[in-house]
Symmetry: C2
Subunit: 262 residues, 2 copies
Amino acid sequence: MSVALDGGWLAVVGLGPGDAALVTPEVSAALAAATDAVGYIPYVARVAPRDGLTLHASDNRVELDRARHALELAAAGRRVVVVSSGDPGVFAMASALFEALEAGPAAWRALDIRVLPGITAMLAAAARVGAPLGHDFCAINLSDNLKPWALIEKRLRLAVEADFAIALYNPRSKARPEGFARALELLREACGDARPVVFARAVTTPEETLRVVPLPDARPEMADMRTVVLVGSSLTRVLPRPSGAFVYTPRAVPAGEGGGHG
Amino acid sequence: MSVALDGGWLAVVGLGPGDAALVTPEVSAALAAATDAVGYIPYVARVAPRDGLTLHASDNRVELDRARHALELAAAGRRVVVVSSGDPGVFAMASALFEALEAGPAAWRALDIRVLPGITAMLAAAARVGAPLGHDFCAINLSDNLKPWALIEKRLRLAVEADFAIALYNPRSKARPEGFARALELLREACGDARPVVFARAVTTPEETLRVVPLPDARPEMADMRTVVLVGSSLTRVLPRPSGAFVYTPRAVPAGEGGGHG
C-alpha cells in the first residue's frame, strides 16, 4: 500500500442495506481501526461511537466537499473511513471520492486509498423476494440531479428492448416527484405486459416493506427515497406460496425469446 | 417463517468473491446452524468442515439436480445451506432453486426458504480498481449454455447504445473459447474509442490479478472462467497514480452527452 504521512489511509466502505449482519468483517475491521468516520448524516449514525473515533456527519448533496475533507484528513495522517449505505461503488461515495482525488493536489494520489464493497440495495431487495435479478440485468439511478432526464428515458427504453431486469435506484424524492411517474408510464408502454414489479423499502431494517405488483398496477406513490424498485424482464415469474410470493427470473432464455417488446 | 417437518429450512447463500473477510455475518451464522451444505465442488470446499455438517459437493452444470436435492433435504427436516460464490442471485444458484421449487411438489412451497446476499464478483472487482460502476451499468452473462448467442450480441449492442458501464460474467471457458473474442470485436466496433477495460481475475484471493487496458488492446486470452470483465462507459476515466491506476465513472453526465457511440 502507498505511504502517507504517519500512516494515514482512507477507506470508502459500504455498510450494506441496514442490518448489521450484512456488514462485512472487512468493513467492521476498517471501522475499528479508523480515527475518523465521514459521511451523510444517516449513514454516520450507523457507526457505533467510541473513544478515538471522530464522527463527521454532513448533509446530502455535498459529496465533493465531503470527499475533499476525507482526503485532507488522510493526507494529514488520519485513518479515515468514508461510509456509504449499500455498496460504495453503486450510486454512492466512491465516484465522488475519485472525482475529488482527480481534481485535487497531485500528492493525494500517493495516499493509501481503498474501496471496501458492501451489499448494495438491489441485491438485498432481490434476495428478500427470491431471485428477480437471476438473469442479465441493469441498474439505473432515476435521480436527474446529475444527468439529463432525456438520458434516463433513453436508457429505460433500451433496457426494455434488451429485455434486462431493471433495478431503479433513488426512484422518487420530494424535490422531484414527477420523474418516477413518467418512468412508470414509459415502462408500461414499452413492456406492454403484466411483468412483476418489486417495491422494496428500507430492506433488512425494522421499517422494511416489500410489495410485488403487476406493472399495470404500479403507482408512483408506492416508492420513496428509501425504496429500490425492481422491474422484471419479460421472463420473470411470480411463484405463489402460503407466506408471500417469490419472484425470480429463470436462467434460461428459449431460442427466439428474450427480445423484449420494445 | 414457514413451518417444515422438524424445523427444516433452506438458505441459498453467497460466499462472496473469495476472501473470508467478505462473507457476511448472516451467511456465517447460517453455515454455523446448518446440517447440510450443498453446492458446486469449489464452493463447498470453502465451507469449513465440522461435526454435524454434511458436505454435498457436486459438479458443474447439474444445478437443477442440486437444487432438488437441497429441497428434498429441507423437506425431510434438515437445515440446508446451498452455497454460491459471490451473490446467489447473480448468475448463481438462487434462480435454479426457484426453478426446481416451481416444478416440484406443492408441499415444497411451504418450506422456510431464504436467500442471503453476498458480495458479487463485479462489485468486488470494481472496488479493487476504484469505481468503474459508479454510474448506470448492466451485468451480462456471456455463457451461451442457456441462451442464444444472438441475444448476447443484441444486449451488448443495446448496452453500448445506452452507454452503460458493462460487467461481463463467465466471459470465457474451454468449451466456448470463441464467444468472448466475438464480444470484444463487437464492443470495439460499437464503442469506437479507447475506453478502459478491467480484467479482474480471482478477486480477493491469493491468485488475484488485475489488469486495465484500453478497449483496442483487450485480447480474449486476458480472461478465463475466473475473470469478471468490466467495460467502462464513454465517460469512464483512468486516474494514474504511483501504485496502479484507479478507474472510475463520474456521477454526472453533462447535458448532451452519455448517448453512447452506437
